[in-house]
């Protein structure tokens, strides 16, 4: 089994890693007691659910770090198709395409479509560089979204919020949410009870990972202030093409692997550009993520699986 990440590798994490093991069994935990069941049964019994996150597929990228980014996206989707039980849906945290070209979006849609899951997208900066600065993305993925593509939805009592922090960037700054989106967020949250589990997803990390590389969001503190009263907040990001996590009070932050190419650890290279690893190693750096929610008050369980161990 590939590396498995989460809030420490405890027994639960080890068991939930089985989701990716192809054993035909999904292990779940209720009240601290691990039990195995087909996911459908588990859902009915516990009213929990699993969803997936993929990120940074960069379809169209063909440089040395990965000459075939569409190919590795295909492998990621193969892994999802092979899951013994169907997750509730998938989120994609941006940089679907490399250059916002119609063919790149088409190829991504066709490949991701093989998973036969509802997919909730947020854009990365690579998705908004068409002639009309994001019109292509919004027409394709933003039909029910506000502004530059933000929205929220609910799944079995969990409130999901997709944010956009890759537009109107300020010189010298990092990611940006902007006042309009923050006002929308305040309004979106105002009627939610503090016990509602919240999942926020956006492309660039909502905490400062490396300001010298722009790996953070200038006004994320304002968003987090609005989330402070909630008992369970999970923040899922992409952009930095590597796993990282941080817990701050009730808020757990996670960045995801790319399905295309890795990027260096902060400070480990002259720039955050694509990191070329030996060809046989690439799939250890790419992967997909599952997140399992149980209505037990425990934090959501986040499990990352590499494309190859």
């Amino acid at each position: 089994m590939s590396r498995d990440e989460g809030r420490g590798v405890d027994r639960r994490q080890a068991l939930e890693c089985m989701i990716w093991a192809g054993t035909g069994v999904l292990w779940t935990v209720a009240g601290g007691v691990p039990k195995s069941a087909l996911l459908g049964t588990a859902q009915a019994a516990e009213s929990g659910f699993a969803f997936l996150q993929i990120s940074d597929s960069h379809v169209g990228f063909d440089k040395p770090a990965n000459p075939n980014a569409l190919g590795t996206l295909n492998e990621a989707i193969d892994k999802i198709v092979a899951l013994p039980a169907k997750p509730a849906f998938m989120i994609h945290t941006g940089d679907i395409s490399h250059l916002s070209k119609p063919k790149q979006f088409d190829d991504a849609d066709q490949t991701i479509g093989r998973a036969k899951l509802d997919v909730h997208y947020v854009p990365g900066e690579h998705d908004l560089i068409d002639e009309d600065n994001g019109k292509a993305y919004l027409e394709r993925y933003g039909k029910n979204a506000k502004g530059a593509g933000w929205y929220s939805f609910d799944q079995q009592g969990v409130h999901f919020i997709g944010l956009v922090n890759v537009v109107n960037l300020k010189a010298g700054g990092m990611g940006n949410l902007g006042p309009e989106q923050l006002a929308w967020l305040a309004d979106d949250l105002k009627d939610k009870s503090a016990s509602t589990p919240i999942v926020v997803f956006a492309h660039i990390p909502l905490w400062t990972v490396a300001p010298e590389w722009g790996w953070g969001t200038d006004d994320s503190a304002q968003a987090l202030a609005l989330l402070k009263r909630f008992g369970s907040v999970t923040v899922l990001n992409g952009h930095i093409h590597q796993l990282m996590q941080k817990v701050e009070g009730q808020v757990s932050f996670y960045t995801a692997r790319s399905t295309a190419f890795p990027q260096p650890k902060p400070g480990a290279a002259p720039s955050p550009g694509p990191m070329t690893v030996p060809a046989g190693e690439l799939r250890k750096y790419l992967g997909v993520r599952s997140v399992v929610y149980h209505p037990t008050g425990e934090p959501l369980a986040v499990t990352d699986a590499a494309l190859a161990g």
């Binding site: 770090a65 560089i129 960037l169 010298g172 722009g214 002259p270 720039s271 550009g273």
Partner: protein, 115 residues
């Protein structure tokens, strides 16, 4: 846009040569006045350049990741430049032009135009 004639994002060196001829109707300032800024490792090099009024500055992206050139004062901006794409701006008016990358806004540079 008047002060900065004809910014143009050009695809590849061959197109760049062809389109430069087409777009810049007046003869360009002498080759000595012209300058190139390259993008390597998410940085503009040279980071600050000084040119004479009328000079054409060519920005060329050498990274595997697209970048763009955005004037902080809003006077010019390029499309996203893929690897080896170029973008040219003619700087007619003296002054200081601070610019950044529209995709990676921590990347900044400056063009000083002085007689």
């Amino acid at each position: 846009m008047r002060t900065l004639a004809k910014p143009s994002a050009l695809k590849g060196a061959i197109n760049a040569a062809a389109l430069t001829a087409a777009l810049l109707v007046a003869p360009v300032a002498s080759a000595l006045d012209d300058s190139k800024v390259t993008i390597d490792n998410f940085a503009f090099t040279p980071n600050v350049i000084t040119v004479k009024p009328g000079a054409v500055v060519t920005f060329e992206n050498h990274d595997d990741i697209p970048h763009s050139i955005v004037d902080a004062a809003g006077k010019f901006h390029s499309k996203a430049l893929d690897t080896n794409d170029t973008f040219q701006v003619t700087f007619d008016q003296p002054g200081e032009y601070n610019y950044y990358c529209g995709l990676h806004s921590h990347m900044r540079g400056k063009v000083i135009v002085a007689p």
